[in-house]
């Protein structure tokens, strides 16, 4: 995988993604953190495009940026002002230590291992993905739809007000 444009795109995306992930970590305001998170999501979808996973890149934007981030924003606005603080607990040092160690170990493994790499474009398109989802992966696919329904109903049940339930049982 080479070429001037692709290389430049990779470095820009890498810088963007990692910097905005750092922004999520560093920003004290929860709303700022979400906005950084959105940029990180967009960066990851850029990587997906670089890795010729067009469909998933678009799905990533639609779901992560269009739905999940918006949900998070909604949740933040619904909880009042005092809860918009994004500071760390006292566990920040151990967490940093653990994170660094994990990154170091994984990076060591990555550069130590002898990956069985091909540079041939596998030609994975949305059609291939679709037929795979509906043939090989049909059971997980159906399970995912059940999961989504369950999550929908579950989320509704959790946030239902107490008095609503009483009103329902009374009527």
């Amino acid at each position: 995988m080479s070429g001037f444009g692709i290389t430049v795109a990779f470095w820009i995306l890498a810088a963007l993604t990692l910097a905005s992930a750092g922004g999520v970590m560093a920003s004290r305001n929860l709303i700022h953190a979400v906005l950084f998170l959105i940029v990180a999501f967009l960066g990851v979808s850029g990587f997906f495009i670089l890795l010729s996973a067009d469909f998933l890149a678009m799905a990533q934007i639609i779901i992560y940026v269009g739905a999940i981030s918006v949900l998070i924003l909604f949740a933040i606005v619904l909880t009042p002002r005092a809860e918009r603080d994004n500071s760390e607990t006292s566990m920040v040092l151990p967490a940093l230590l653990l994170g660094t160690t994990l990154a170091a170990v994984l990076l060591f493994v990555l550069y130590d291992a002898n990956w069985n790499v091909t540079n041939v474009e596998p030609g994975l398109s949305a059609e291939v993905l679709g037929s795979a989802l509906l043939s090989v992966w049909v059971l997980p696919f159906e399970l995912a739809s059940v999961l989504l329904t369950a999550a929908l109903v579950g989320a509704l049940m959790i946030v239902r007000r107490q008095e609503d339930e009483e009103g329902d049982s009374a009527s």
Partner: protein, 422 residues
């Protein structure tokens, strides 16, 4: 597939890609490859901007909309600056540039500054996948339908940023409303477009144009339900009346734009028009045959056909804006969830079955017309069933008050024996 009369001569303006290719080849002799890459992209963008976006925005979006709405509202509209007021958009732009962009003291300065910028970027990106002609498309990617949906979910974030950072209660209201509404309307919108994609068997916009050219038909005739869902969903996403609750000027002043002034506001305004144009172009591509016009595209420049179709669709946006009142947020939400979503799901199911019948029995293309007939019947049927279920009968609903001759106390409503149903 290209039974196209267009030649490769640069002066053949039926396909502007010819001209562009000649320029690209000429530049290739002068500049190194990497620079040509950037230069031609820039050139193409500028040409596109000058030929389509700027005139459309200024003269269809600003001037045309104001003149037409003026006409609908029994007044003149802009007619002072230049002949017929044609320089009005330019004057407006100059005025906006001169104005100070105020920032409230308690606002979140950075986000307030960044919101209009982030609002602009997707508006331009949206046009990248729209085919203006057989070869006139920036990025003919195979998932351009998904691309459109993905990009159109971005400005919501910018609107939210604008509303939240202003630190104004009206703005926050507007931001909350736009977020809630866009989540709700995204779902029927996606399902409606999915049905289109299922029937045509492609997610590429260019592929859909070719599909419609080959049958030949328009998708709106085959899938009226999908079109209805798309139109309602997109006007909700775009904040056009009757769903402009996010900047409802009679309720929350200007919604998320309350604290914006000067060119920052101008960017929001201009890009709102650009989004509406993008949605119109998208509808023209998917539902109205794009640049094809039943063979006429061989003589008339396809891009002209396409732009005219876009403008016609945009006119519908202007028209609804000039006439319809605004719905309340809970009505909009329940409309999305209780009506649009089920209807989009039913449509998807029917279309999937139709597609299955079509491909597995190897039927001729003309069968699509039969599908269209079925879908139209289905649409009418759904509307009637819906009316039955909700006992909707406009004839029995009183739109004029009762008349009495003598004053007195309360007159109870006589609901029995053929009285009005309220």
């Amino acid at each position: 597939m290209l039974s196209f009369l267009a030649t490769d001569h640069w002066y053949d303006l039926r396909d502007l890609a010819n001209l562009y290719r000649v320029v690209l080849e000429g530049l290739d002799h002068i500049f190194p490859t990497g620079l040509v890459y950037v230069l031609t992209a820039l050139l193409g963008f500028i040409a596109f901007f000058v030929v389509f976006v700027l005139p459309s925005q200024l003269y269809v979006g600003v001037y045309g909309e104001r003149r037409l709405i003026g006409r609908m509202q029994a007044r003149q509209g802009p007619n002072r600056v230049g002949p017929l007021g044609l320089l009005q958009p330019v004057a407006d732009a100059i005025k906006l540039l001169q104005k100070e962009a105020l920032t409230p003291r308690s606002a979140d300065r950075l986000i307030m500054w960044a919101a209009p910028v982030l609002f602009v970027a997707p508006a331009i990106l949206i046009f990248a996948v729209i085919p203006f002609g057989p070869r006139m498309v920036f990025a003919d990617i195979p998932v351009s339908l998904m691309y459109f949906l993905a990009i159109s979910s971005l400005p919501v974030i910018a609107s939210f940023m604008a509303g939240w950072s202003s630190n104004n209660k009206y703005s926050l209201f507007g931001a909350m409303r736009i977020v809630a509404m866009s989540i709700s309307y995204e779902i029927p919108l996606v399902l409606g477009l999915l049905a289109v994609s299922v029937l045509s068997g492609t997610m590429s916009l260019q592929g859909m144009v070719y599909w419609q050219q080959d049958i030949p038909t328009w998708m709106i005739l085959i899938q009226p339900i999908a079109f209805a869902v798309y139109f309602i969903g997109v006007s909700a996403e775009l904040n056009r009346t009757p769903t402009d609750i996010a900047e409802a000027e009679s309720e929350i002043v200007a919604g998320y734009l309350t604290e914006y002034s000067g060119m920052r506001w101008g960017l929001f305004y201009g890009m709102d028009i650009a989004y509406a144009l993008g949605a119109s172009a998208f509808a023209a591509t998917i539902f109205f045959g794009g640049w094809s016009l039943f063979g006429l595209e061989q003589w008339v420049p396809p891009w002209l056909i396409f732009i005219l179709k876009t403008y016609l669709f945009y006119f519908v946006f202007i028209w609804t804006r000039g006439t319809l009142p605004r719905l309340r947020i809970d009505q909009l939400m329940s409309f999305a969830w209780k009506f649009l979503l089920p209807i989009a799901l039913i449509n998807l199911l029917v279309v999937a079955v139709e597609r299955l019948i079509w491909t597995s029995n190897d039927l001729p293309d003309a069968i699509v017309w039969a599908f269209g007939a079925v879908n139209i019947v289905l649409m009418v049927g759904i509307v009637f069933i819906w009316a039955k279920v909700f006992k909707y009968d406009p004839k029995k609903r009183p739109t004029k008050p009762r008349l009495v001759n003598e004053p007195g106390g309360y007159r109870p409503v006589d609901l029995e024996q053929g009285g009005p149903s309220l």
